[in-house]
């Protein structure tokens, strides 16, 4: 017997989820001095999580992060098990018997709800569904968005709301050479949507867009941003916020809004994106599908940087046939792992999974959105995963010598016994090559497979 991670006793780690935080956790383990073996589990046959199915298709440069992950996957100490759902195909209790440690990096797959009447009417969708649909995620392949109306409403003012509204505002020409899924390109081409409202609960000084995402609204082929000047009036707390040197990002966003408000929309452009603030939806109205939304005007209260929006009792209504809510994500519980329903994360202390009493559960770790909630961008997860792996390695130092764990070979036996048709990284590369060659004749970087069966058929 010797310490896990030593010469004769490789530290065997299962990573659950193959998005950025999973790959950065793998990278941190591989960079450590330890002798490690990493098995990464992914419920889809294809890796890369939200870099593949979240990052907007018209942001191809961001998707180049994939090159870093593909390089990590080349390590002989790394193995990919795609098409394996933890809790269904293999249980967490099984993994515990096979590996020294498990790191959950499975993200935040569900949406927060508005909690208002009418939220479930036909025509009311989550941003996740729409983003997954245009990015060809198999879960959302067969969603049918009714784009026959002239007005769409998006609740939320973060980058996902920006992605949803920009994709609705773009023309076929602006999207046809991206890796947008073909079914979405065709449906968007027939869209009648001309007016897109992006509605924020707080003011223009608190909007969560990055300036880079916002700037794009001023550069679209057939759409102009609209902002009514008096929307930009600030209370003194918001002025204080924008004057703060550490808040340069929000100041840039505010300046962009101002630029939009001074610009006359072009008569030659068909579409408009309206940015509007200090409004909360109180009801989505309609007989059996969305017909309008009722909004309550808000006022901010509290100190600078702590301001919250409170309803004023003044109401307005916008007619619309389609509504997207983009007000945040939450994680989904995994059988056999503690879960904080309220926050939508796996409860943890610096990446160590904790039980109801707040004590660390030995061997279980978390990183990424399922650890801290849905904040930050791709790179934020690198620092986050490095911190979790540091905790994992620190814990090894405190551990006594322990036995070798069965790891990979036993995992393969178990998956075979359970009749799980798992996908290896070299299998994925075959799917990858096929997707790229499917895209070529259309001038697209790839044409994704959007059904799990199609992906698996490539490997037959």
């Amino acid at each position: 017997m010797s310490k896990p991670g030593s010469e004769g006793n490789p530290l065997k780690v299962a990573i659950v989820g193959s998005g950025p935080s999973g790959f950065y956790a793998a990278e941190a383990l591989l960079k450590s001095e330890l002798n490690t073996q990493i098995d990464m589990y992914e419920r889809l046959p294809v890796p890369y999580g939200l870099v593949r199915s979240g990052v907007a298709p018209d942001h191809p440069k961001l998707k180049q992060a994939i090159n870093v992950y593909a390089k990590i996957a080349e390590s002989p100490a790394y193995r990919f098990f795609g098409n394996v759902t933890i809790g269904k195909d293999i249980q967490v209790d099984d993994l515990k018997k096979l590996y020294h440690s498990i790191i959950f990096t499975c993200g935040a797959e569900s949406d927060r709800r508005l909690g208002i009447p009418g939220e479930d009417l036909r025509g009311s969708y989550t941003a996740t569904e729409f983003v997954g649909w245009y990015n060809g995620h198999p879960d959302f392949r067969d969603r049918d968005f009714d784009l026959s109306h002239d007005t769409a409403i998006i609740f939320g003012q973060g980058n996902v709301a920006a992605d949803v509204s920009r994709i609705l505002a773009k023309t076929r020409d602006e999207l046809k050479h991206t890796d947008i899924a073909e079914h979405a390109l065709d449906a968007l081409d027939k869209s009648n949507i001309k007016h897109i409202y992006v509605i924020g609960r707080r003011g223009p000084a608190q909007a969560k867009f990055t300036s880079k995402e916002l700037k794009e609204f001023g550069e679209l082929e057939d759409s102009d941003p609209i902002l009514v000047g008096d929307e930009l009036i600030l209370n003194s707390e918001s002025e204080t916020e924008l004057e703060d040197k550490s808040n340069a990002g929000n100041k840039k966003v505010y300046d962009l809004f101002q630029g939009f408000s001074q610009q006359n929309p072009s008569d030659n452009k068909q579409r408009r994106v309206y940015f509007t603030f200090l409004k909360s939806p109180v009801e989505i109205l309609g007989e059996d599908c969305v017909e309008s939304v009722k909004l309550e005007k808000n006022a901010l209260s509290g100190d600078a940087f702590m301001q919250s929006a409170k309803g004023t009792g003044e109401y307005s209504e916008i007619k619309t046939g389609i509504v997207f809510r983009s007000i945040g994500y939450k994680g989904i519980a995994i059988p056999g792992v503690p879960f904080d329903e309220k926050r939508g994360i796996i409860p943890n202390a610096e990446g160590r999974v904790t039980d109801d009493n707040g004590s660390a559960v030995p061997g279980l770790y978390v990183a990424g959105w399922i650890k801290r909630g849905p904040s930050g961008i791709i790179g934020t997860n690198r620092a986050d995963s490095v911190a979790t792996v540091k905790a994992l390695i620190d814990d090894l130092d405190l551990q006594n010598d322990s036995n070798d764990m069965p790891g990979e070979e036993a995992a393969i036996n178990l998956l075979n016994n359970n009749n799980v048709n798992f996908v290896s990284f070299s299998d994925w590369k075959k799917i990858d090559d096929k997707e790229i060659s499917r895209g070529e004749p259309k001038g697209k970087p790839r044409e994704k497979y959007t059904y799990i069966q199609e992906m698996l058929d490539v490997l037959k």
């Binding site: 950025p20 950065y24 960079k31 440069k61 961001l62 180049q64 992060a65 090159n67 870093v68 990055t210 880079k212 040197k245 340069a248 990002g249 840039k252 930050g376 961008i377 791709i378 790179g379 934020t380 997860n381 690198r382 620092a383 490095v386």
Partner: protein, 101 residues
């Protein structure tokens, strides 16, 4: 478009940016950090991390800072990659307060 490290980094080199870089595009010498524009994916994660606001998107550079585009591009590829945060340069805290941060 690319992302550029400018003169505020000189004599500081805090490397908070490096921790959040998804692609390891930072390089370093004894003076400061540089971004390799061929590797950077323009995600902007590093920009708000810099304690002295030395990092800018190319479009946001002041006229007198535009020279740093070329300096980053030419210096970075020949220097070692900074893949994880390292200690700031001696005197970095003093320099930070001189810069008004």
């Amino acid at each position: 478009m690319t992302t550029v490290v400018t003169e505020n980094c000189q004599k500081c080199r805090f490397t908070d940016c490096v921790a959040v870089c998804p692609v390891e595009c930072f390089h370093y010498d004894d003076d400061m950090l540089y971004i390799d524009p061929d590797v950077c994916i323009d995600c902007s994660a590093c920009i708000p991390e810099c304690p002295v606001q030395a990092i800018f998107e190319e479009d946001d550079l002041a006229e007198d800072q535009k020279k740093w585009i070329e300096i980053n591009a030419s210096r970075a590829p020949d220097l070692p990659v900074c893949s994880e945060p390292i200690d700031p340069l001696p005197g970095a805290e003093e320099r930070k307060s001189e810069l008004g941060f």
